[in-house]
């Protein structure tokens, strides 16, 4: 099950970057906001995911100066990342569909 949670994080990160380039802390804030604080991961664990995606070529990083004058590392979704996002989305639909099917088949549950 731990492997599934790592894959889900990758899917969430790629989804966030599909909309716009972001830096690490921004992704954490946005993830919490969009999921109504359902997804609130340990923030440090985002960075192994980001660096892994960068090494695999799904995202690329660049530096940009923040209003405070400090340099921030922004991440951008690559074409390869976009294709991987589509694959991860399909895999998630299959997985979540299977979970829902099992739950639906349990007696007494009424899932919308």
């Amino acid at each position: 099950m731990k492997k599934q949670s790592i894959d889900h994080t990758k899917l969430l990160v790629l989804s966030l970057l599909a909309g716009e380039d972001m830096y690490g802390y921004q992704m954490i804030v946005e993830l919490g906001r969009r999921s109504n604080h359902t997804f609130e991961m340990k923030e440090g664990t985002l960075y192994p995911v980001l660096h892994g995606l960068e090494k695999d070529g799904y995202v690329e990083a660049y530096q940009q100066e923040a209003p405070t004058g400090r340099v921030r590392k922004y991440y951008h979704l690559t074409r390869k990342g976009g294709a991987a996002l589509k694959t991860e989305e399909k895999a998630w639909e299959t997985y979540s569909g299977a979970v829902n099917a099992v739950l639906r088949s349990s007696a007494g549950l009424n899932l919308a």
Partner: protein
């Protein structure tokens, strides 16, 4: 932060610095947000640090994202460069001298490969001669037909006790087990770092030893060299 960085073993120094900068920036951004919400500085810092999670886990997971390939490649290149520098270095006069001295102490046979096939018995007999060391490292014996006379060969080297000092002439001679000087012949090679000699002389077949003698500094110094004979002659 130090706990995170302590678990990064595969990264280069530049990558380590970049990771530190990125994580520092993240914590700083979080602290700013908490300060805007009215947290005091100390609490904001504590909350921001706690929100990052277990630093050891973060460090370990980050480290896994960096391939070993380049690090191993760089280390191999570094080792090869060091070896090249050493190889060039020991060819330079200043460094070759101590190298020859150490070679004589530790692996004298490697300095005289042409003699190795003639060596029969390995020995380790060392005698101080002033500031030098006489090191007898091998012997050979050979019967001469049906006569009682046999030939003995002693392989030895000389090196200074101090690796950076020059070796002197030994002035060594050999006596048989009856105390008679053996008049033989010697040949060898000599550099400033070490001198190698192959000395041969006649003894009686079966003599149990000969004695290396030095009387150079006014005192008589000796070292017994055991002889091994092939049986059945």
């Amino acid at each position: 932060m130090e706990q995170v960085l302590a678990n990064l073993r595969r990264v280069t120094p530049d990558e380590r610095a970049a990771i530190r900068e990125e994580l520092d920036g993240h914590i700083e951004d979080h602290i700013c947000d908490l300060l805007e919400l009215g947290y005091d500085e100390k609490l904001a810092e504590e909350r921001a640090m706690a929100a990052m999670g277990d630093p050891e886990e973060v460090g370990r997971e980050l480290d896994k994202q960096y391939p070993l390939r380049w690090l191993v490649f760089m280390k191999v290149v570094t080792v090869l460069l060091v070896m090249c520098c050493l190889a060039v270095g020991i060819s330079l006069p200043g460094l070759r001298h101590p190298y020859l001295n150490l070679q004589a102490r530790l692996a004298p046979k490697s300095a005289c490969p042409a003699w190795v096939d003639h060596m029969e018995e390995d020995v380790d007999i060392r005698m101080e001669i002033g500031s030098d060391i006489l090191y007898i490292f091998s012997t050979a014996t050979e019967a001469k037909g049906d006569t009682a006379v046999a030939e003995v060969t002693v392989f030895y080297c000389l090196y200074d006790k101090d690796p950076i000092h020059y070796v002197s002439d030994s002035g060594v001679f050999f006596e048989d087990c009856r105390g008679e000087q053996i008049y033989g012949g010697a040949g060898g090679t000599s550099t400033a770092g070490a001198a190698y000699w192959s000395w041969s002389g006649e003894v009686l077949y079966g003599d149990p030893y000969i004695t290396a003698v030095n009387e150079r500094y006014g005192t008589r110094q000796t070292a017994r060299v055991p002889l091994v004979w092939e049986e059945g002659l």
